[in-house]
């Protein structure tokens, strides 16, 4: 009955049912995306009309529990944008150069040390990054803060929990993503391109920057997209090192990100406060959608020109 050969009837049954199972699984992901989108919009929009879109998105005062509450999340939105951008600016060059090192210039022995280290980095839970940030980064940052603002009378000292600490933690956290995807993009560049470039007399470095990197561009852009996604969605690690007060995103200010705003206040929030938190979730959701669509477009445009 269960022989591999089987008859043609049972074979077509297996084929068909397998196809059905695959289709159902595929639509499960679609269903998840659609239901999450619907839920976020349904639970995030009531506060928009209740508080007023302009007041909510462009207000700078966050006092959700005051007698006359104020729900301005502009600083929170800006913090997420500035923080993520800074983390990308810091993390992507390091990540891409590491990928070049692994794919092109590293000796086997060195690569055997670096690669497992990166894999380990990817596996460390984000809360550990946060704890290390509190223990090591914040005290060092506080010393720096005390030196820089020694004569300032207006600066509010944060004890090292500030935007810069969060950015450093984020930059380290996106490294594994950026490195792994960039490396596989670099490796998938046909070796004939490299050989041709070297044969034309180009040096190793010229070949890497003029030939291999442009050829692997789309893969590296994907790496950046996923890095942005990881950075903007991270909550646990940065909630421990960012200070979590709502302030304008300057490097030494205590700041609150979209994610940490959700995490830190969801526990006790009620009524309109809670609804506004859902709106923050919706803003975060919109951001991730926007970034993905936007960068996909850049990627497609780039492909056309070639």
């Amino acid at each position: 009955m269960n022989s591999i050969v089987g008859n043609s009837k049972s074979k077509s049954m297996v084929e068909k049912s397998a196809q059905v199972i695959f289709t159902v699984c595929a639509f499960f992901a679609v269903l998840a995306v659609v239901s999450i989108t619907a839920y976020m919009i349904l639970s995030g929009t009531p506060a928009l009309s209740q508080v007023g879109i302009a007041e909510l998105l462009f207000g700078t005062v966050w006092k959700p529990t005051a007698a006359e509450p104020s729900y301005g999340i502009l600083y929170v939105i800006l913090t997420s944008i500035v923080g993520t951008t800074m983390a990308i600016v810091l993390g992507v060059p390091i990540g891409v150069f590491t990928a070049i090192f692994l794919a092109e210039t590293a000796s086997k022995r060195l690569a055997a040390i670096v690669r497992p280290a990166i894999e380990l980095l990817a596996g460390i839970p984000s809360v550990i990054y946060g704890l290390l940030g509190i223990m090591l980064l914040c005290p060092a940052m506080y010393k720096l803060e005390q030196v820089i603002f020694a004569d300032s009378s207006t600066h509010q000292f944060t004890g090292g929990a500030n935007l810069l600490s969060a950015v450093l933690v984020l930059a380290i956290m996106i490294l594994p993503t950026v490195i792994n995807i960039s490396e596989s993009a670099l490796r998938s560049v046909p070796s004939s391109l490299k050989a041709a470039s070297l044969a034309m007399g180009a040096s190793e470095i010229q070949t890497i920057f003029k030939v291999i990197l442009p050829a692997a561009k789309s893969g590296i852009v994907t790496a950046i997209v996923l890095g942005v996604g990881r950075a903007i969605g991270e909550a646990m690690a940065i909630s421990l090192v960012s200070g979590s007060s709502v302030n304008a995103p300057f490097p030494f200010n205590s700041v609150r990100f979209l994610t940490t705003a959700l995490v830190s206040e969801m526990g006790y929030a009620s009524d309109l406060h809670r609804q506004v938190l859902f709106t923050i979730g919706l803003v975060l959701f919109a951001f991730i959608m926007f970034i993905n669509l936007g960068l996909t477009r850049i990627l497609k445009g780039g492909a056309k020109h070639e």
Binding site: A29, K63, S153, G159, A161, M236, S244
Partner: protein, 316 residues
Amino acid sequence: MKKRMISLLAAGILVVGSLTGCGNTTETESPAAQSSAPAAQEAAPEESSAAQESAPAEESSAAEVAEANTDLSGSVSMSGSTSMEKLANAVAESFMVKYPNVTVTAEFTGSSAGVESVLAGSCDIGNSSRALTEDEKAEGAVENIVAIDGIAVVVDPANTVTNLTKDQLISIYTGETTNWSEVGGADQAIVVVGREAGSGTRGAFEELLEIEDACAYANELDSTGAVMAKVASTPGAIGYVSLDVLDDTVIAVQLDGVDATEENIKAGSYSLSRPFVMATKGEISEQKPEVQELFNYLASEEGQELIKSVGLILPE
């Protein structure tokens, strides 16, 4: 088109990831989960040990107790202070374990609303995290203080300031005083640490000092443990925590020369404390049996343990 679909899916998956992350943390940190877990744990062993002790001695009395537990049926509704959420949920949970036929519900609408609704007869117990006003008492509300909430002000262990006046504390938290030298300490910046909006401790602290939403926090942390860790590890930091979590990693400062201790709070000399009142309309003895039993339970050893387990001080 295909690429776009893929990236859309990837975006969705990222969002799912981040959302489930958030969901988990809020769930585990929700006060109900926190408070009910220790409550249930504590209630269970005590009950079983009680049963074990009484069983060999007098089997009939053990049976009687069990009967009495299921005999009582009905419902108790509480309404009021959000600060008392942890206590109210813990009491409701463990009381329902002991008396399975009684339903205890708790709503958190604010102290004044709670007292109002108990006076209006729409609930049995009005939870209030402040003493009742003369007006409320005149309307028939009876003040049953079941617990006392105390807040300690802590500084890092190297700080030389060990005493602050109430005014100094207010000016530190509103951002007027920014250096320890202004309050008699070393020339060091003050790092003002507090809790997130919505936290009961923050609500109580700001309410007692009358600086609601006027605070300039440099750090708003979302748990007591985080405040303790931050203050302990940051030179020049000041924070506030509930009295029961104090340990020697930080220094609890004196307030107007009074130590933050249970004795001083009970004596009324330490000002950062407030009573947790379960107000009833008329005396407890006039209430329906299940409400009376709830107060008996709170006064019992088991109930007192429960109150301590959520970090509160027992009233005399």
